[in-house]
């Protein structure tokens, strides 16, 4: 079984983490979408720390010897989900950057060519 000290320790750390997520949310350093994912991980770990029996039950089903290892395992799995979702959003961002860069390059050329056309027309008027 988990010691009370470990339970309280985990809960304390997770509360600090939850507090900092809210802090970063208020400072707009993190999007709601990602903050929610992290808070979800946080809350799941807190619930498991409060009800270690759920873990004992789960660890028996999955054949994990120690419930503490179960906490770490669940935390790791949820972290992997968050990291994977980050890979996806980085890919989407890269696509957007690519499209924007291309548009910028094209617009710059159009403006430049347009300028020349305007200049030529002006010169013709002078003559």
């Amino acid at each position: 079984m988990m010691s009370l000290r470990l339970q309280l320790g985990i809960i304390f750390i997770m509360l600090v983490v939850a507090g900092s997520i809210v802090h970063f949310l208020r400072r707009k350093s993190i999007d709601f979408r990602y903050a929610l994912a992290w808070l979800f991980v946080d809350v799941v770990i807190i619930i498991l720390a409060i009800f270690p029996r759920a873990m004992v039950w789960l660890s028996q089903i999955l054949g994990v010897a120690s419930p503490v290892n179960m906490v770490l395992f669940v935390g790791l799995c949820l972290s992997l989900v968050v990291i994977f979702s980050l890979s996806m959003s980085v890919s989407r961002l890269a696509d957007k950057v690519r499209k924007l860069s291309q548009e910028i390059a094209i617009i710059r050329k159009d403006v430049f060519d347009g300028d020349n056309r305007v200049r030529e027309e002006m010169n013709n008027i002078k003559d």
């Binding site: 860069s101 291309q102 390059a105 710059r108």
Partner: protein
């Protein structure tokens, strides 16, 4: 008929002038645009000095993103035909008018300039040829069509594919993958024999070190491209 030559350029200071001269002399009906993909040499300065037509990418996008910029430009400006053309002296502009004729006459959506039909000119190293033959095999397996030179960087497309490539184009090593996509969607691809030269300056983007990554990535991308439809 508005026709555009797209020349992706990353550090091509040494070859670019000759390439542009080649196009102006041997394919006068074609407009051209250089895509400077954040070159670190004097490519941009040279484009300005000579008054070349160029697009300057604000961030480095790699070969796929650079070529796609050209297709996007061609599509926005109402070109009927766009052709990718390497700026490193490998390709000869004298083939471009004939490629355009073939595109129209055969009603194809893409014409690829192939080194391996008449097997003349620079044939690449034997290891590279082996890789290319493997791609030919994989394309045949996936689509049932025979493409002798799936890695050829000399490819001409019509407006239909321009629109498609503007929406979606692979980021790196785009040629074999996009051929599979195009064939899977029942577009028509023809090949035309061309003679290519050995590059005069610069080196291939594919070395022995990243060759394994290249083969795995492209194979995987080709299978995924086939699965999309």
């Amino acid at each position: 008929m508005k026709k555009l030559v797209i020349i992706p350029a990353f550090n091509e200071e040494g070859n670019l002038e000759k390439t542009i001269l080649d196009i102006k002399e041997n394919a006068p009906a074609f407009d051209y645009v250089i895509i400077n993909d954040c070159s670190t040499d004097g490519t941009l300065a040279m484009c300005r000095r000579h008054g070349f037509s160029y697009l300057n990418l604000p961030v480095n996008l790699g070969i796929g993103g650079a070529v796609q910029t050209g297709y996007r430009y061609a599509y926005y400006h109402g070109y009927d035909i766009a052709v990718q053309f390497d700026g490193d002296g490998q390709h000869s502009a004298s083939y471009l008018p004939e490629m355009a004729e073939r595109l129209e006459e055969t009603g194809s959506d893409m014409v690829i300039g192939s080194r391996f039909i008449t097997k003349e000119g620079f044939q690449s190293s034997s290891l590279r040829r082996l890789g290319i033959r493997y791609f030919t095999f994989l394309i045949r397996l996936l689509t049932g069509k025979k493409i002798t030179d799936p890695t050829s960087g000399m490819r001409m497309i019509n407006r239909k594919l321009m629109e498609k490539f503007t929406e979606e184009y692979p980021k790196d090593y785009p040629e074999p993958e996009s051929v599979v996509t195009v064939l899977s969607e029942k577009h028509r691809v023809t090949e035309m024999p061309v003679i290519m030269n050995e590059r005069e300056e610069g080196s291939s983007s594919i070395s022995l070190g990243n060759g394994v990554y290249y083969m795995v990535k492209v194979s995987f991308a080709m299978v995924i491209a086939r699965m999309k439809r």
